[in-house]
Symmetry: C2
Subunit: 209 residues, 2 copies
DNA sequence: TAGATTGTTAATCGATTAACAATC
DNA sequence: TAGATTGTTAATCGATTAACAATC
């Protein structure tokens, strides 16, 4: 099994390659791609060799080939079904995010505890949280995104995991621990901003003092 | 200067500590905190020693002390002013995100090109993009969050940097490159989800095959 | 062929962890 | 004092990079 940053890079390569394709490229060299993805060319070739992605020693890599193979590795050769828990601002933004569909990511429904948020007849329905277990089973959902308040998050993750969810992206500002039967990824918006704030201040201090 | 993951950990420690404080803790041991933040206790002590955060060899660390010192390091001892560019679903979700204010992060305004999004009299106003430069100058803003479509993102970042923005969090699905005068952090939602999908599939394969 | 790029190995680099002396 | 925890040094580990032979 490979490590997280390696997989994140594969995903970035793919994203960069689709941009290059829009510019009518047919082939790329490790150098081009490295530049677009913000890594070194040695890193690109190393990553590719790990996953058996081969090029031509003189002509680089064929764009279509490469994208197709990355799609397979990243599970983009079939639709991946998601649900969103919590239909607050962030939850609703994700329900309507236009970038998912063209990336084989489909959000089937949202869930909330607050009656005023329900929208059972919307294109992507928002349903009561107590229906989530049934919904997961009926639609064989593997993935969920958590956008509930911090206090609700641990409990919600328990419910999801016991209902059979295998992968969670958590936006609630509490670190949900990795689980034996479920991959969990945490994004903490405040932490991301604090990181930026720190480095801006650090640069200022070092240039001032 | 320290590396990104170290600073991200400091931020996570802080977040974990405020949770422990809610549970009426007065002191923590490196062990407790490590558990709450998902790292080893050696890592906690190492990080603390780098930043001169000292404890008591028998009594661990005083919670209030620790939080106050982390606040200083992370720039939380004063209000950090942000703007949001792009008032689509994601942009508006961030404008209304309740977790920022109690973390010394204040969003002063949103900006968009689409007239139908304007809301100059809202509590957090949404203004025309062409006013962004003036607004940044007048309000001495250092930080921005980009939530515009992928094609607009590079141009928007240029505008912001030339207007004096020093730190950017970018949600558009294109990697904006680090800039001499500006710290840039990219979050690509699709990449995060692809990462989860990959590891769920990898686990399934390894347990099946 | 000559030139350029891949694929891979070995070297480097840095971050994490283990271990333990200091000390409360 | 005995016991427990910090603070720090040295060892380990793994990821990144440099370099170059293979080859198109």
């Amino acid at each position: 099994m490979h490590n997280k940053s390696c997989i994140m890079r594969l995903s970035r390569y793919r994203s960069a390659l689709t941009n290059l394709k829009l510019l009518n490229f047919n082939r790329v060299f490790s150098d081009n791609l490295a530049d677009a993805a913000g890594v070194t060319s040695a890193q690109v070739r190393k990553d590719f060799s790990i996953f058996g992605l081969a090029g031509n020693r003189r002509g680089g890599y064929l764009l279509d080939d490469l994208i197709a193979q990355l799609d397979k590795i990243l599970g983009k050769d079939k639709i991946q079904k998601f649900i969103v828990i919590g239909a607050g601002n962030m939850g609703r933004a994700l329900l309507n995010y236009p970038g998912f569909e063209k990336n084989s990511i489909k959000i089937l429904a949202g869930f909330d505890m607050d009656q005023s948020k329900f929208a059972p007849n919307a294109e992507i329905p928002i349903l009561p949280l107590e229906k989530v277990k049934d919904f997961i089973a009926k639609n064989t959902i593997q993935f969920a995104i958590i956008c509930v308040p911090v206090l609700a998050a641990p409990q919600v993750s328990e419910i999801l995991i016991s209902a059979g969810i295998k992968g969670i992206l958590n936006f609630a500002p509490i670190r949900l621990k990795e689980h034996e039967h479920c991959v969990i990824e945490n994004i903490n918006l405040v932490t991301e901003l604090e990181n930026i704030i720190y480095f801006v201040n650090a640069i200022e201090k070092s240039s001032t003092g």
